[in-house]
């Protein structure tokens, strides 16, 4: 018997038992539904992570640090969660209550002298005591201040940014995130452009020697000692160049003021002047030349005791979480599938019993046992196909219906969806289900293959 004819007959005998076929398919459909959603959610999450990573980190960028624990990979048992007892190091810096080793000027020389490195930018820490806005009088605010990252050009809500990538903003300019304007209650973005923002910087208290304090106290009194210990303060006025749009994927663009690299360096050095932290930095951004694999540079730097993470590392870490969650959901889908396998076996056994005479007749008419077995396996394949179609179809429908709500709830930008359905994996899933169904139909079909036509056709 020809394959096409067997397939047609298999489909026809299923359509003659519609209720049973649909119910058995639904059992597979549940598994297919779960698996399709898991695939869609996994794909959507990976695309989302990709967007996040690419809009925050240049793929050619390395974040380098002297202290491995910066990246949670320290083998000294230290992490950001807690320090424990650690050996004192002269090049260590207290940072947010943690002691971290810093990159020395030597380290910077080492990195920037490499032929495969385009540029090294230290992570400047500019902790303004407070800042004031020209348009908002009598109020002081605090906010993070970071370097404008030329490789990740944010979308602007008002004003302009330099056209070409790799071009910095001017030293007296600042880019303000849209969220700040909401806090300030400013709605007229256009008039905000060009207005001034003033940063108030305060140096940390100076360390005076015992002798200095004694001599000052003796000559000018205690007030003079206090004054001498007090660090200098300074006011820096910057002009607003642009307002960066709020983005679900770019974190820094929505949470910090951007200033130029030169300005950041100047302010950072002013703040750390005469302290141990002067010109030493916890981390730095290294831009690797085009065509050079960042992970090769990473491995090289590690030999010199300089640790780093690449964009790929960050992506990989996030992917691990996505994959884990996807794996759990897929596990549930597979459980549902296993349950449905028994459904198929049961249905097909009953079908073989019900159609004993038909099988006997077909064999008497010269149909080979192999073809009879095939007939039942194809029926199982049909059930798998139907189940896959039902499950994937329902999942797709549910995804289309739910995506707007999910995007809304997670604050994803328009056009970004958490559930991304791709035709190829879904087609693969359906084919996989057909294969599973055929395997499940193996034992019933073997029973049909072995059926003795004389026994089957015995009427009394």
């Amino acid at each position: 018997m020809k394959i096409a004819d067997i397939t047609r007959r298999a489909g026809r005998s299923l359509s003659q038992a519609k209720a049973r076929t649909v119910l058995t398919s639904l059992a597979i459909g549940v598994g297919a539904f779960t698996l399709t959603l898991a695939l869609a959610a996994g794909e959507g999450s990976r695309q989302y992570v990709d967007t996040i990573v690419s809009s925050n980190i240049d793929p050619q960028m390395l974040i380098v640090a002297k202290d491995e624990s910066m990246f949670g990979g320290g083998d000294e048992g230290a992490s950001l969660a807690g320090t424990g007892l650690r050996e004192y190091s002269e090049t260590a810096t207290q940072y947010a209550g943690l002691t971290l080793k810093t990159l020395s000027p030597d380290d910077f020389d080492k990195i920037s002298s490499r032929s495969d490195v385009e540029k090294v930018t230290p992570t400047y820490l500019v902790n303004a005591q407070y800042l004031t806005f020209e348009q908002v009088e009598d109020k002081q605010y605090t906010a993070d201040v970071t370097v404008y990252d030329v490789s990740v050009r944010p979308e602007v809500a008002a004003g302009t940014l330099p056209d070409r990538a790799q071009q910095q903003i001017a030293d007296d300019e600042v880019v303000v995130p849209e969220s700040f304007l909401k806090t300030l209650d400013i709605t007229d973005y256009d008039s905000f452009i060009g207005s001034n923002i003033t940063l108030h910087l305060m140096q940390p208290p100076k360390n005076l020697s015992e002798a200095d304090i004694q001599s000052l106290a003796a000559t000018d009194g205690l007030a003079a000692v206090e004054e001498a210990m007090q660090g200098e303060s300074r006011e820096v006025t910057l002009k607003v160049r642009a307002v960066s749009m709020q983005s679900a994927t770019s974190f820094t663009a929505s949470s910090a003021l951007f200033i130029s690299e030169n300005k950041a360096k100047e302010l950072s050095e002013f703040l750390t002047k005469d302290t141990e932290q002067y010109r030493s930095y916890v981390s730095a951004m290294v831009l690797v030349k085009d065509g050079v694999d960042p992970s090769a540079v990473k491995a090289d730097l590690e030999k010199d005791g300089i640790y780093s993470v690449t964009a790929e590392d960050v992506q990989g870490l996030l992917f691990t979480f996505v994959n884990l969650l996807q794996g759990i959901v897929i596990g549930f889908g597979l459980l549902a599938l296993i349950a449905s396998i028994f459904g198929i076996i049961n249905t097909q056994y009953i079908s073989v019993l019900e159609r004993t005479q038909q099988i006997g007749l077909m064999k008497a008419l010269g149909m080979s046992g192999r073809d009879v077995g095939r007939l039942f396996r194809y029926e199982a394949a049909w059930i798998g196909f139907l189940g896959g179609l039902i499950g994937a179809g329902l999942a797709w429908g549910a995804g289309v219906a739910l995506n707007p709500f999910i995007s809304d709830a997670l604050g994803l930008s328009a056009g970004t969806h958490l559930l991304v359905f791709q035709p190829v994996p879904i087609a693969g899933l359906i084919i996989g289900l057909m294969v599973i169904a055929v395997l499940a139909g193996y034992f019933p079909s073997r029973k049909a293959t072995r059926l003795d036509p004389i026994e089957a056709l015995r009427t009394e």
């Binding site: 007959r9 038909q358 077909m362 008497a364 010269g366 080979s368 056709l457």
Partner: protein
Amino acid sequence: MITVTHVTKTYGKKQNSFKALDDVSLEIPSGASVAILGKSGSGKSTLMHAISGLDRPESGEVVIDGDNILTMKQKTVDRFRAEKIGFIFQSFFIQGNESVYDNVSLPLEIAQVPRRTRTQRVEAALEAVELSDKIKNKAKDLSGGQKQRLAIARAIVNEPQIIFADEPTGNLDSVTGDTIEELLFSYNREKNVTLIIVTHDADLAKKCDILVSIKDGKIESVTQKDTGAQS
């Protein structure tokens, strides 16, 4: 030409065994109509199964047109049945849920007849049994006589050389039974097809060219109608 020589078929094992066919030898010329007459359990069905290749007796030979079907591979026997043999059963064994067309088309699909010629042949077969107007009906909606006519159409659609009919009129009233008998015999005469009827109905058996009586797995008598002589 069908030649059966020394065929023995035993069912069961050792003490419980009994011989359904005991050293049976028989010769059936091509185009003859043959009745295998016997009571229930006489071995007449087993003989039919042996000649049609459905069953495999442990000893003896069944030679059809020069080939011993007992030594053929299963695959070859299957193809032989699909191409050369038609079956008609007492309880019809038609597929009620399928259309009349699909019922008749089944043997052609099994014999891998190309799709184009199939329609033609199915229509011709239904024409021969006067069921052309029912071609699209569900088989279960037919009456008993129509069902057996449908079974005959299915048996003749692939133009077989031998037709086996197992109690073809057993489930029918006498008038309908006569029609079916007439249909079988006229097809046997017109197409020169060997017709082998298995029955316990002596009246039906008398209408055949050769009457083979079987009892306890042994051939009791073979009567040729033309001469009336027994051998």
